[in-house]
Every structure is written in structure tokens, then in C-alpha cells.
Symmetry: none
Amino acid sequence: MAERLYLFDTTLRDGAQTPGVDFSVEDKILITQLVEKLGIDYVEGGWPGANPVDSEFFAKKRTKTSRFTAFGMTRRPGRSVSNDPGLAAVLDAAVDAVCLVAKSWDFHVKVALGTTLEENLTGIRDSVEAVVACGREAMIDCEHFFDGYKANREHALDCARTAYEAGARWVVLCDTNGGTLPHEISEIVSDVTNVVPGDHLGIHAHDDTCHAVANSLAAVEAGVRQIQGTLNGLGERCGNANLVTLVATLKLKPWYAERFEIGVSDAQLKQLTAISHHFDEILNRAPNRQAPYVGQSAFATKAGLHASAIVKDPTTYEHVDPELVGNRRRVLVSDQAGRSNLLAELERLGIGVQKDDPRLPRLLDEVKRREAEGYAYEAADASFELLARRLLGHVPAFFHVDSFRVMVERRHNAMGDLVTVSEAVVKVTVDGERLMSVGEGNGPVNALDMALRKDLGRFQAHIEDLELVDYKVRILNGGTSATTRVLIESRDGEGNRWSTVGVSPNIVDASFQALVDSITFKLLCSGVAASPEDRPRKLASV
Amino acid sequence: MAERLYLFDTTLRDGAQTPGVDFSVEDKILITQLVEKLGIDYVEGGWPGANPVDSEFFAKKRTKTSRFTAFGMTRRPGRSVSNDPGLAAVLDAAVDAVCLVAKSWDFHVKVALGTTLEENLTGIRDSVEAVVACGREAMIDCEHFFDGYKANREHALDCARTAYEAGARWVVLCDTNGGTLPHEISEIVSDVTNVVPGDHLGIHAHDDTCHAVANSLAAVEAGVRQIQGTLNGLGERCGNANLVTLVATLKLKPWYAERFEIGVSDAQLKQLTAISHHFDEILNRAPNRQAPYVGQSAFATKAGLHASAIVKDPTTYEHVDPELVGNRRRVLVSDQAGRSNLLAELERLGIGVQKDDPRLPRLLDEVKRREAEGYAYEAADASFELLARRLLGHVPAFFHVDSFRVMVERRHNAMGDLVTVSEAVVKVTVDGERLMSVGEGNGPVNALDMALRKDLGRFQAHIEDLELVDYKVRILNGGTSATTRVLIESRDGEGNRWSTVGVSPNIVDASFQALVDSITFKLLCSGVAASPEDRPRKLASV
């Protein structure tokens, strides 16, 4: 009988601590959707009251299936729960669960909190009881637990037991400094199960010695039933436990799969690679090509040597089947896998095509060619759909951009102030008529966008409510003379959202491609279906 | 009594399998020196006879202290040792040790080698005896050992025992597919110690489930006494076991340090960070900022909250002292920075200032203000230093940019082709003289960079070797009218690297700021100290 193992995502809280990472409310909403899509049980959205973004994010419940969780601290020493505004803000949040961090290392209790061990325990108990009283699921993160246990075993265990006895659903043992080793985790967790049953214990590991995943699994083997981690191991210093790696191992390695059930279905597992990459896009950072399971190189074998053996029996060279995690074997043997993925994608978009349609290999080649150049279609649905529709059917030529010119100038104005101005001129042809528009903006791309959407003749009404909500730039291959990829997310008045991509060594050019795709896609979806075998398609709402 | 644990570097052989990596003979010589400098016991230089570079590399012994090792394969089935030219080339090399890979998975023996299990064992024995006869230390890499053991335990153990009994100094158990888990490693290795003593066993792990380091250490705990790995975990798919991480853990974690002695001295350990970064330079790839122990972020803490506690006792927040591995604590100059953090950072930069200097609060406010606007000083050391020097002392005004104009135009050229051209004009004043330059580029920023660095009068010689090696763009707050942050990493001819930042709604403007800071910083470091109380400062080499 398999036991239930719970996964807890702290990308938006602990992961957000990473230097250089700044999640907006929009980012948090998107990431929450990604985490839910994967089948993770808990999403820790942040710390309501700690900063404006988190407070706004917690104004409403953001999950449908995962348990929406708020982070906070146990009540401040010397105050009552009702007299702690920080804690009150957390308890007020529209959540299913509340996870409070508590000191469990005597040194921290005395020096950082400046209080007694007894008061620390009282604080834990009062805080848990307050959470339970609010009807939320209560969790305690025992900070620095393993170092605390080594320094003062009794107090560490007291903290865990106090939380449990006060009604905490979960007592999470945190290796906050990240320096604990797997065999130590095993020993210590085993001891803890004497005061808190394993099915109420969780583990929160860090990667400072490259043991975050190993420590998480060692803890599970010793009895814990909740693992905390982040997407792609995002986190400060050396990162947090990588939930992506853990999900794949828990689902695909028999020792775990036979003993434990997690909330991720086989179908959700197939989304793993896409979800991991999409998260990197949101972070605007290059995916780790060598990431276990989902990295582009994870199943890349030097073809010659192994190709024939792989065709016969891939298990001789692969530890798991890459397709189970939505990745693919990269061996130049056949493109059978590529073709079936493509068909599935086209089906999903409502583009009807027979599986032996001779245009499919051409589309596949075109996609591969462009992706080698830098296009990222997994994050740009609309651009992919336009590419497919153009190759398989037709997309009306709504307008044609004859030329554009963008200028950025930094100079002194008439008052002698140094200013930077950006201006763009765009010349388009609509229904045979030449239209010219000029626009200004905060920067070259903004100016171009303004000019491009200023006057598109009879199509203007259809794009009045078009809004750019996100704009991401990534430089591929480094340096200022490298390739630039631009991803644009657009929205219309009905709440439809779509993403488009542009690639060029020139950032303005790349932005231009993505902008034109965005407008074209909007016009395509507003009008009639492009060809008989295509179902008229409504844009998927967010 | 501590037991001797041997470290074996296969950067130049297994690490070299990584797609995109091509070591020249020069690279191999340099890397060998690095590995020796660290105190690694064996350097596996490649496969003599397999390719011209390796053959040339093995023409002479390349190590002074480490055991120079050649890789190869056991004799081909059906041939004798003397009739196997491949093996002959390996035996001819000027080395201390020879490491031959052998099949140990029955499936591979039958399908890949097309021979019998018995013949496989004979091949192993003959090959080991041939190595010993040449006066070399013999090692056998048992390929796919753990999968082979699971498929046919008897044959896997036979392979190991045969190698040992034939005189191999080391029998290395390889997790070639990388899918074995730590508890399996423990069980299997324990079993193997019944046929080969632990002090003749080695482990060679891969990171396909993020367990390469954990598996290596689990194997040691089960009895092996040689660990194979690569610098920075270089290797195909998800990489090899990271020797850098392993060295630090073996030296600094008491459980290992008390039981085992490795060839790395404390002084050599202090070189760890520099060696790791130097290796990345040779590879020409950006160092992993989050690498355990040696990454730039490995000991980076968000200030404010912890700063005072850290000053009192760093062990409360750090799992090891960063200085032991040649790294340093990075209390981030962020908007939570306190005065003591700032002082520590200024001290490190060689900027002398009293702790009650009235300009410090102004500098702190300036940093906070700019960070709220989007500047990220934790990733832009040079921009921070310029900011500090300007506020606390002075930075010579090497040149002044009076104006610039950048233009991007997409139009048809004389041949009717649609092209995008980018051109920039920059007007600067140097020593009272007006200089104007025009530049072209792949995009607006590239064009601006070209124009800006084209003619800076008497400073031109100092910036000739300045090179932009990385360029990152991040849009803060979404949309095309948001704030853009640009981070530029620059390098000069001596291998110095520095980072600068620029922030503006206008991407060209932001890039311009970062470019000017980069040039100014280079000029500052090339010249005299800015004010009496500042120590003349050399740029820190990587």
C-alpha cells in the first residue's frame, strides 16, 4: 500500500530570496499556475505584510487545486498573538494553510530573539494554536533544525514536539545553512520520529554541499512525508531542493514509486520539461542545459557510438525514458518522436491535419531550424500557431510593414537638460493603401510599438484593446553582438492572453517580429477561420 | 587512524566528452597543472591513439606530482593483447597508470561486443596483466557496473574479481547511465567488497538524478577508497561528480576529515575557488554563481537581517568558513544594507574611510535609492565602486559624452532585400577636445558600443583590449514602458573581469550607462589612485 508523500513549493517565498529575483504580482500568478499544473500539493506564495507585492498577492486565493499557503514568523517574544501585527497580517490572508518559521537552535533563540528557551516554546505553541483557531492548516518551519539539534538536541526536539502537540499538521525540519550530510539527516530524522510521527514531518533542504535532493530523499527514507523545494532549485546561495528533479525521481525510480504516491499524475509528469523551461522564461534566464531529466542535454548521446544500441533498447543507455518527463532523446536516428509531438500540439490548437500529411516534416524541420536560431516556441504559443497555420494553411496578410525607422537620441534640450528621446516611424500597407505613422516612447521598442499600432486602417478597431503586459529580452551566446530573443505577452479586453517571440541579433528587429506576430494573431482570432478544415478557434482565456 | 582516500580527475577524458568542449594540447597542459595544483592524485589525460590531440599529449609525461594516467579499452574480443593496436597505443604512452574500460553488463557483452561472458572475463584478465607487465599501475573501469549488477549480479562481480586477481591496483565501479540511487550504491558496493577489498575499489558517478556527489560519498562510506570526478563537474548529459565540491566536503566536514586523508593540503584547499574559476576561464564559460563552496553566491547573505549576527559568530549562518576554500562572505550591498556591511565592502575595495564618516549615510541612501530604481549592485561590483569613489573621493572625469544618437532602420536595400541596419553617432569631449565617432553594429547597443570605444583620444590605448563578454537585459515591472536594467560584464587582456549596471526605461540609455561605467572603471584601474587615503588598487584577478 503506497503512502502519500506531499510536495510543497516555496519558489515564491524562499526561492524569491535569490539575489536578482524580483517577482511581480503577475509573475506570482503565472508561477502559481505552473506549480499547480505540475500537481504540487502546497504553494507557499510569500509573506503577506512583508512587502506590497506579497500583500497584494494574498488579497485573494490564487490556487484552485493546490493548498494556498502563507509564510510568516511565530509571534514575537514578549507579545501576545493578538498584539503582533506581523502575525495578524499572515492570519488574515485568504489561504488554506499558514507556515510559520520558528527558531529551533538555542543560540538563535538567545542571541537573535533575545529570549529564553521556554518562551520560545510558548511562542511556538501560541502561534500554532492561533493558526488552528483561524481554521487554517498549521505548519511550523523549524529553522536551523539540524544545527540546532547538534547544539542542543533537547531544545530542538522540544520545538518539534511542541508544534505537533499544539496542533500543527506539519513540522518541517529545515537545513537552513545547507551543511548537513545525508547520513546525519537520516539519524536525526529517525530520532525526531520518536516525538513527531513521520506523517507529520517535512524536510526543507538547501544545496550548499550539493545534497539538497539527496537529503530530501534521505529524510523521506527516515520517515518524513512532506518535501519542500522550488522549481528548478531556485534559491539563494546554492539554491533549494529542486522539485523538478525530485518529482521525476519519485515517479520514475521504482524504489520510491512503489512505496509512495505523490500528487503528480503521469500526464502531469509529461509536462515537467515544459514547466521547467517555462519557469526559466519567467525568470528570464537561460535554462540549465544539463539539468537532470529536463535539461536539453540530459538525454543527449553522442550518436554514432550508441545509436544502434539505443534503437534496439534505450534502457541500455538511458536511466529513464525521456518522454515520460516530456523531454526527448537527442540522437540523430529518427524524427518519429518529433512528429508525434507536433501532431499532438496541432491537435491541441484545433488545427486539423492527417498524420501522414507531407507538410508535417516540413513544419517539423522549420520548427527545429528556428529553435536552433533561438526561437522558443514552448513559451510563445501564438507565434507557433501562426507558423503552423502559415505552413499548413494560410494566414491572411492583414497588413504589410514596408519599413520602419527607430531613433534614440541623447542630447540637451532647449532648457539645457540632458534628455533621451525615442521616436519611431512605421510605414504599412493596408488594403493597398500606404499608411505612415510616427510614435514616441520611453525607449526604442515602446516607440516602435506606439507607431505600429497607431493606424492600421480598417483593423484599428480590433486592436484598440490590445495591451502589452510583459516584455522579456534574453541575449543568447553573450556579448553585444549575439542573438537576442524577445518574448512578448499580450492581452485584450476580454482577458485573453497570448505570447509571441522574435529573434534577431538586433533587439529592435526581434521586438518588431514579436509585435507583428502579436497583432496578426489578434486579428486572426477576431476574424473568420483561415481554412475549411480548421475549427473556428477562440483564444483560451487565462 | 585516518585512511587514505584517492582522488582521480577525468576532466580531460570523460569531461572532454561534453558537447561543445574541445581541448587543445595547450588546454590539456594548463588543466593538468590546475588539477595537480589542487593536489589530486591521478590525472587521466585522455585516450592516446584515439585522436591526434591525445596522442600528442601523451608523447611525454605531463605531471610532476600526480600520477599521469592514460585511458583505453580492454583488448578487443577475439584478439590477443599484442594484436590490438588500440591497446598497444595506450600501453606505449609515457604514463604512470593505465585505466581500461571493460564491459560489466551482460547485455553489453553480448550485444555491443558480440562475445561471451567468459571471453569478456578473459579479455579483462589479459588486459590487466599486459598493463602490469609494462610496469604501469593498472585500473579497470567497470562500465555500467550498477545496472550490470542488477541485471546479472554474478557476471558483474566476476568482472570485478577477475580484474583484481589479475593484478589491478584499482577496480572502478562506474554508474555510467547515472541513474543509480545512494542506497543502491551502498548495498551494491558492500556486496562487491566481498570479492574486492575496499582499498582497491573506486567509484565513478554521474549526475543524472543529481546524486553524483552523494553516490560518490555513499560508496566511500561503503568502503571504496578512490573517487573519480571532474573539475566543476564537467561532463556530458548532466555532468560528472564534481571534484571541487567533493574536495571541500572531504576536507571540511568532520565525519570525513576525521576518517580520511586526501592528497589536498589546507593550503591547496584555499586555492579551490581560484582553481574552479580559472577552469571556467579556460572553458570560456560563465562560472556557476551558485556552485557549492566556490560560487560567487555560495556565501552571499541578504544583509540587514543577519549582518549583526554574522559579525558576532559566522557559524550561525554559514556551514563552513568561506576563507578555507578561498571564497569570501558576501554581505550583499542591497537595500537592506546597514552601515557595517557598507564599511566591510568599502574596506574590501581598498577605499579607506572612518566608520563615522558623515558621507557614509549619504552613500547608503544613494545605494538604496538607486536599488529601488532597479540598479543591482550585488551583480555590478565596478559600478558600485565607482559610485562609492565618486561620493567619498573623486573619480577623474576621463571623458565626457556630450550626446549620442542611435538609429535602427528596416528597409529595402538597393538589391530589393529587406535589411535592418543599426548606426550610432557619439560625441565626446576628451581633454577639452571634441571627438565624434560613428559606428555600426548588429543592433542599437552594439552600434553604440562600437562608436563609444572608437576614439577616446589619449585613453584609446588603455581600452583597446577591453572586451564585452556578457550582456544581460532585464525588464522590471513588465510591458514595453517599464524600467530596463542592463548588466554588462567586461574583460581585459590580463584576464581581469568586472561588471557594470545601467537602469533606464530606455534600453539604449541603460546600456549606455553600463558601457560608460565599464570604460571609466577600466581607466580608473589603469591609472593612479584617486585620493590620498585610498590605497592604489589592482583589479582583483579571477
